[in-house]
């Protein structure tokens, strides 16, 4: 009897941790996803998260945490893109296509060369049910930092999104804020790997934002709504994955998609 109670307690503990981590990631994904939607950076975000595989390999090779490796590589990704854009004769989506898939390939090869085995599937599609208490707390803290920064810069970020030159002329430090945003995005990628995996991360950022757009009347309400919709998708997704014994990350994404489809029934301006 006592053993069963302990088992249930442990069971519910890891589910609570999974839920908590998932919900917090969804909360950060809400406003970040809105900016990706507004700035037409969905493909950029997707490509950046592909490069996370190299970051994981780098982190393991250097013997530091893989999150640190991911953040480093994501920032490098943004720098590489920025300098290629300045060259000027190729479109950004072409450059992204090159960078995304070459970094994915590099990561796959690097990881295959490593001596101790690595669960590739967990990296690509997440492994939310194995999250430890410690990892969960790191995610909660990271998300609070991301949200704090986003809402502190909020009006400047919106102005910059609308018109960079206008923002600059009004005294916004455009370059600085853009790099802070890149750093936050790379943090986002690093913290979400275990929750949703690098291949599905962008859907958790884009779909709730797109869903929220149908109802929102201000940029802020769109972000808050996206947070709520994302969190709801995570809860429903984890519940569904346990109910039907299917992988949790795709389940979360499909729940978000269902919410999106129901939002299409209502179309605001």
């Amino acid at each position: 009897m006592r053993m069963i109670i302990t088992m249930v307690a442990v069971m519910s503990n890891f589910i609570i941790q999974a839920m908590l981590a998932g919900i917090f990631i969804a909360l950060a994904a809400g406003p970040m996803g809105c900016f990706l939607v507004w700035r037409r950076m969905a493909y950029f975000g997707d490509s950046m998260s592909h490069s996370a595989l190299v970051g994981i390999a780098l982190g393991i090779s250097m013997g530091v945490s893989y999150s640190l490796g991911i953040m480093l590589v994501c920032i490098l990704f943004a720098v590489a893109l920025g300098s290629l854009e300045l060259k000027g004769n190729l479109a950004t989506d072409t450059l992204l296509g090159i960078l995304a898939h070459s970094s994915l390939s590099l990561g796959l090869i690097w990881i295959s060369l490593m001596s101790h085995p690595i669960n590739l599937e967990a990296i690509l599609f997440g492994d939310i049910l194995t999250i430890t208490y410690h990892e969960c707390m790191v995610i909660v803290l990271g998300v609070l930092i991301i949200l704090g920064c986003i809402f502190k810069m909020w009006p400047k970020l919106i102005l910059l999104t609308l018109h960079e030159d206008l923002a600059f002329a009004e005294g916004v430090h455009v370059k600085k804020i853009k790099w802070i945003f890149m750093a936050l995005l790379s943090m986002m990628v690093a913290f979400s790997v275990q929750v949703i995996g690098i291949l599905l991360l962008m859907s958790l950022m884009i779909i709730p934002a797109a869903t929220a757009r149908q109802w929102a009347r201000t940029p802020l309400s769109m972000s808050l709504l996206a947070m709520l919709i994302g969190a709801l998708s995570v809860v429903l997704g984890i519940w569904g994955s346990m109910q039907f014994d299917v992988p949790s990350a795709p389940c979360i994404v499909l729940c978000a998609t269902l919410l999106f489809m129901s939002s299409l029934l209502r179309s605001s301006a």
């Binding site: 700035r39 950076m41 943004a78 009006p155 919106i158 002329a169 009004e170 370059k175 929102a216």
Partner: protein
């Protein structure tokens, strides 16, 4: 999508010229190169209090670049820029497309990052005859309405200098006239200085105190009525146009009694 590395940090003015308390903005020997190509060079400009300077010139002459380098948006490659300390500048950029993915109303846009109260926003909007649109989404406005919202945003900070980049483009003739009428009233009543890029030469001639004709460098500059007689003006805009402008100028002078030279 130019995501990164496209901006300088806001620049500091690097030289104090001879003290002139009326001088708001000046450039000496200014040059901008972008990707190894010279966009503008050897530009001198002095904008003093209550000036209305219009920059004209053919497409690709570097007019927008000139405004951007003066505002610090584009880095200068050569020369000096002076801006009066604490100069308040209102900028009206050339293009402004609000993505329809972002739900933001006129009111929301005007309140963004400015600590202005509701009634101040409404006052500016009614000046521009845009009060009825304050809850309209930005992406649903017509080109002319959006232009007026941009001007409202520029004016809301009560600027000493208004910088406009082709404010009348994409406007029908009626909206153009009302826009220029508004600018003219603003210039005369509030004593706001104006620096504007424009293609509408006949409007320019009647509004402006100074015209600068730019084609990479300053071809000619001066009072509107004198500039049409300048050979450099004629060579860029063609004889027919120059003489047409002089005729217009003449008619304009005549209309106002015209002996204030």
């Amino acid at each position: 999508m130019n995501l990164l590395l496209s901006h300088n940090t806001p620049m500091s003015d690097d030289r104090q010229p001879l003290a002139d308390k009326d001088l708001l903005l000046s450039a000496t020997d200014l040059g901008v190169d972008l990707q190894g190509k010279s966009i503008i060079h050897d530009v001198d400009l002095n904008l003093t209090n209550h000036d209305f300077i219009t920059v004209i010139g053919p497409n690709g002459a570097g007019k927008s670049t000139l405004l951007k380098v003066l505002l610090g948006i584009v880095p200068k490659s050569k020369g000096h820029i002076y801006r009066k300390p604490n100069l308040r500048i209102g900028y009206v950029p050339q293009q402004f497309d609000v993505p329809k993915t972002m739900p933001i109303t006129v009111q929301g846009f005007l309140a963004l990052d400015l600590s202005k109260k509701q009634h101040e926003i409404e006052a500016i909007l009614s000046q521009l005859e845009m009060l009825e649109y304050q809850s309209t989404f930005m992406h649903q406005l017509s080109g002319g309405q959006r232009q007026r919202v941009l001007i409202a945003r520029a004016l809301i900070k009560d600027p000493d200098l208004l910088v406009l980049d082709e404010p009348a483009q994409n406007l029908d003739i009626k909206s153009q006239i009302s826009l220029y009428k508004f600018l003219s009233t603003l210039y005369q009543t509030k004593k706001t200085s104006v620096l504007m890029v424009s293609h509408d030469l006949h409007m320019v001639m009647s509004l402006t105190t100074h015209v600068m004709c730019l084609y990479g460098h300053v071809c000619c500059a001066g009072e509107p009525k004198l500039i049409t007689k300048d050979p450099a003006f004629t060579s860029i805009f063609g004889k027919e146009f120059a003489s047409m402008m002089s005729i217009y100028q003449h008619a304009h002078d005549h209309h106002h009694g015209g002996s204030h030279e």
